[in-house]
Symmetry: C3
């Protein structure tokens, strides 16, 4: 790892993290993905200088990639790469490309601009299993790390859980490296969370039953109580996504027991 | 429009906005007003570099204008003007000036400092129709774009709807260019929204009945569900205010269908 | 006070604050403590340039002190001191030091790094009255301003109110200069606030009964309605803590009546 990515904090010469076992970057588990809804260049730089060691992936939410001045977009992508962070456009943006029959051009342009990962989802646009499999495979062929998302954004669009489990198997077979479970930005009223944001443990168990190892799954967990519960259940190295940038350091504190809510578990 | 205000984003060479018809700056409809509760100079600069094309008005909320170091205030005003954005003190501040019998001096000082617009309201301080009409007219005379606000901040102060409709007519006659419908910062428990933040469609219809064209009205809509509903009802070019700066790009994504919640409407 | 800490705002040559009597820095009452959950260096600088006159204390929340790159941490501490602001690690961090039997080393390292205050709490870790008294006394001996916190983070850990009152007496005797009443980051479901965040006035009265003067207490009040109620009850110079940095200027507007919710009280 390059020097600018190391956190040399003197407190760590004195105190131990209450929860042990947190992995360092580059890591395969314990990933944190932030949902970037419009950070400027200097904000991004400040965030990464402060907390780059705790970010593994940046999602430029929804289709916001198309709304930045090109220069701003390129600088954001460059900063992410400098800090060893994967950066990708939100799944909705690829859904739009598919809907406009521009998948190949989309992948080529994303590659040219420097994105390092691609999310394939059908949260809003309906996509056949064949098209989905092909999209994953093409993204892999273009050299991207491919993440697929399971879940619908609108409760009216929900599908039977068996269909989701089949989708996970198919995605992994097509070359996806991680499966993202939809939590939306609000963390409420998705398959994973009820209307108050409480985790449906049955849903969690079913998702886990479909993968070869738990770290295959990234749980979108925007709310603190969700993060806390996932850490208490699965330990510091559970993968979490849709983290608001302002909550990033607070999340890392939860992971390692530097906050009351998880510290309490070891007393 | 000057070059620094153009968004040249390469994705737009490839993909189309799912919702078409969004106006470019300078525009008369589709206005976005942000509620600035204390951005610093560099934060403001970063916001405008990133999203200046999507902001039409900046309100320095309540009386916060009086709390900035003068240099910070002047730089903020200068940045807004450079990006072709109207900037004005919150309506409460003018109410205080009226209450302290300093309207004329208030307008002169606002002009000297470089504010380009004035909001006339009676959200907290009671103002007679004559004083309100005079305040609007004097602000117009000073060369300001004048916005008036309809609605009371405290539910206990509510007035009959007929009085609000008369007020709209009077404001337009006095020279107001836009009518702002109160939504507060919370988006809850105003005339326009109920305690959960749901839009009262009857209230919307009544407000619209009082103006010559829909774009005369700016709806304060701080919550995403409110923004989404207004866009689905009135299209991408509905005027919205009290947008939190952090939500600005996400709002623009909603306007043009780059987010699931509005994208879904065209599928 | 040094020149860079003065707010010279020209509006104040014209208008008076509706609520009078707000103290200037350095002040003994009317303190505002912000909860910093991960601001970067430039964000901190921007915040202090904009609103340094309204901040008396910065708490680096929970154990986040251990998560910053050392250079970032040192620059943040330096900026706080330049603006005449006390800065200290969250109480949970000291609880961890006590739990790992490193109190003395903790205080020495905090002094070396430049923190100016220490919070002693038992929000998560159980600490005997003797250890608590000793920790306060040792922190005073190291030259720190000492704040102690009353309250448990987890509702299951609550203690009888009489024990809290005894704790306040003991803390003051040991050398604490201020007593912080726990409000958490959420402002809900603590001893002070119910599940909806409403203040328990009986709890307030009991806390006040235990101190020699009201300004001895800092009320953690993260939600606007709580801030508003405290100002309406105790005036502009009530001490408040756990203020989100983004709400700082809005809080100051509330304090001096530049916002409808407190302005209304003097009409």
């Amino acid at each position: 790892m390059e020097d600018h990515q190391l956190v040399k904090n003197k407190w760590l010469e004195l105190l131990q993290f209450p929860l042990q076992g947190r992995s360092q970057k580059p890591r395969q588990k314990g990933l944190t993905m932030i949902l970037d809804k419009g950070l400027g260049v200097e904000e991004t730089r400040g965030l990464l200088e402060t907390a780059g060691a705790y970010i593994d992936m940046i999602k430029l939410g929804f289709g916001t990639s198309a709304l930045y001045p090109q220069k701003v977009l390129q600088e954001k992508i460059g900063l992410a790469r400098y800090y060893g962070i994967d950066i990708y456009p939100g799944g909705t943006f690829l859904e739009i490309a598919l809907h406009q029959d521009k998948l190949k051009e989309f992948l080529t342009m994303a590659k040219t601009m420097g994105y390092t990962a691609i999310e394939v989802s059908d949260g809003t646009v309906s996509i056949s299993p064949e098209v989905r499999a092909s999209a994953v495979a093409q993204a892999v062929d273009h050299g991207f790390k491919v993440l697929t998302e399971i879940g619908k954004k609108n409760p009216l669009d929900r599908v039977p859980i068996e269909k989701s489990l089949e989708q996970i198997h198919a995605d992994l077979k097509s070359g996806a490296s991680k499966i993202i479970v939809e939590g939306r930005e609000t963390g409420k009223n998705t398959g994973l969370y009820d209307r108050e944001g409480h985790i449906d443990r049955n849903h969690v168990a079913l998702m886990l039953s479909a993968v070869d190892k738990p770290e295959r799954i990234i749980w979108e967990a925007p709310l603190k109580e969700q993060q806390q519960e996932l850490i208490l259940d699965f330990g510091p190295d559970v993968n979490m996504g849709n983290i608001p940038p302002l909550e990033l350091i607070a999340l890392e504190a939860l992971r390692v027991g530097l906050r009351g809510d998880t510290l309490r578990s070891i007393l």
